[in-house]
């Protein structure tokens, strides 16, 4: 086998080994800050080899959703559901809503969404970003008469002001 062939086969093997390792959650094995791990992870970002494949795994949890309530200067209130123009919008916005379930990212994600909605509705002065979750009964519970329900989880309030630090968070 000529050297060129060997080189191609070696690169292919390395690539596939990395795919296998990352699919086995290599990033969670520890030593994530090690320079070699960082380099390998960076390489994976470019080649698409550092992915995990946990689609609907190990199971599904309650579905989060966000509703927005705005109030303008005259006190008029409006409840909004952020809808896009493309059919895939819902799948993508739900991804962001998923991050809102993490305590660490809640403030920044809700503030970003609030700012986005206020841009779309310039007459509004105040906005409430409220997260709800859909609780799905198991099949046993469903047979016993229980039905899917939306539960309030948390909310964040924001005011439109020239000074950013006047945003009020409850």
């Amino acid at each position: 086998m000529p050297l060129k062939h060997k080189l191609y086969f070696s690169l292919a093997t390395l690539h596939l080994v990395l795919i296998g390792l990352f699919a086995s959650h290599l990033g969670e094995w520890g030593r994530a800050e090690h320079p070699v791990m960082k380099a390998v992870s960076c390489l994976g970002d470019y080649t698409g080899s550092n992915n995990i494949f946990s689609f609907f795994a190990p199971g599904l949890s309650d579905q989060p959703y966000v509703v927005y309530a705005t109030k303008d200067a005259t006190g008029k209130e409006r409840v909004l559901d952020l809808k896009g123009n493309s059919p895939d919008f819902t799948n993508r916005i739900n991804n962001i809503y998923g991050y809102l379930t993490l305590e660490e990212g809640r403030s920044v994600f809700s503030a970003s969404l609030a700012q986005f909605v206020l841009q779309r509705y310039p007459s509004a002065d105040k906005i409430r970003v409220a997260m709800v979750v859909q609780k799905i009964p198991t099949m046993d519970e469903f047979r016993d008469g229980k039905r899917s329900q939306w539960h309030f989880w948390f909310h964040r309030d924001f005011e439109k002001n020239t000074a950013a630090d006047k945003s009020k968070i409850n």
Binding site: D45, S54, F55, P58
Partner: protein, 328 residues
Amino acid sequence: MKKIIPNIHNFFTAPVPVQTLGCFRIAVGIFALVQFLILLPDWMWFYGPQGLLPWEVSDGLSTRQTPGLSYFANLLLPLSISAKGTVYLVTTLYFCSLTGLIFGYKTRLMGTVAWFTHLLLNTTGHFTAYGVETFAHIGLFYCMVLPVGASWSVDSYRKPSPLPPYLVTLSVRIIQIHLCIIYLASGLEKSIGSQWWNGEAIWIAMQQDQFHKVDINWMASLPIVPKVLCIGTLIAETLYPLGILCNKTKKMWLLAILSMHFFIAIFLGLQLFGGLMFLLNFATFGEYCFPGIFSRKMRKPSFAWFKIVNQFLLINNLFSDKRSINRL
């Protein structure tokens, strides 16, 4: 054991029709273009500097080490190109490169530009991205590094340069093994959860507001149905590497996986995800499972669209007899 080693050797060395690579390129290109057109009405919401997540936020929270649109915008600042202008520029480049990729015109260049622009967009919009972007990125990476322009492309008819058979085989096998790892990992991860053994996974998924497309309340009275569907999914995914590579089961396995993705697209409303996985499986394993599906029937009639391109580009003698021989 005596049979296994020669079989493995044969798997990596036996010639594979080059059309598989052409089909893969066209499948990935068409999918990415359709996805682009579908997302276009909300493009600036996903990727704009003041979109759903402003660039400062997506950059600040990102764990990815790849450049995003803000990085590219900073590079273009000396040219007085604004942040929005950068998005328009990258978007235009993405669209043009995908078109070039589909036709196989300057394939390597187009593949590289498509991969890079997708990388920029995906880095910025990764909080809105889901599985479909992962696979689009993988597909475009292969369109950049593998010789996908060797068949069914303007390049291969303008300037035929025979590829060594080992390179075609290696290229196809990389994609096939990548898919095998993906399904194995996905199947194993699902099998850890009890929901995939008692049928609740499908029940919950189809009851969730996001995926609720058809009424499945009747399943609660017939729990065996979601249970069979869940366990069937586990089997199809976890045993995918064996089922799809084994001669006796490969046809059945490919049809099972294609059906699974078809149903995901229809019943869960994940048309883009289901469509991409359907195309990737069909393009990668179609010829392997149904020999001749790409290489036999496409010899003459499929050149009609190349003739249209020929007319358009005013390239003479594009289709001389010698050049139109479909190489294996």
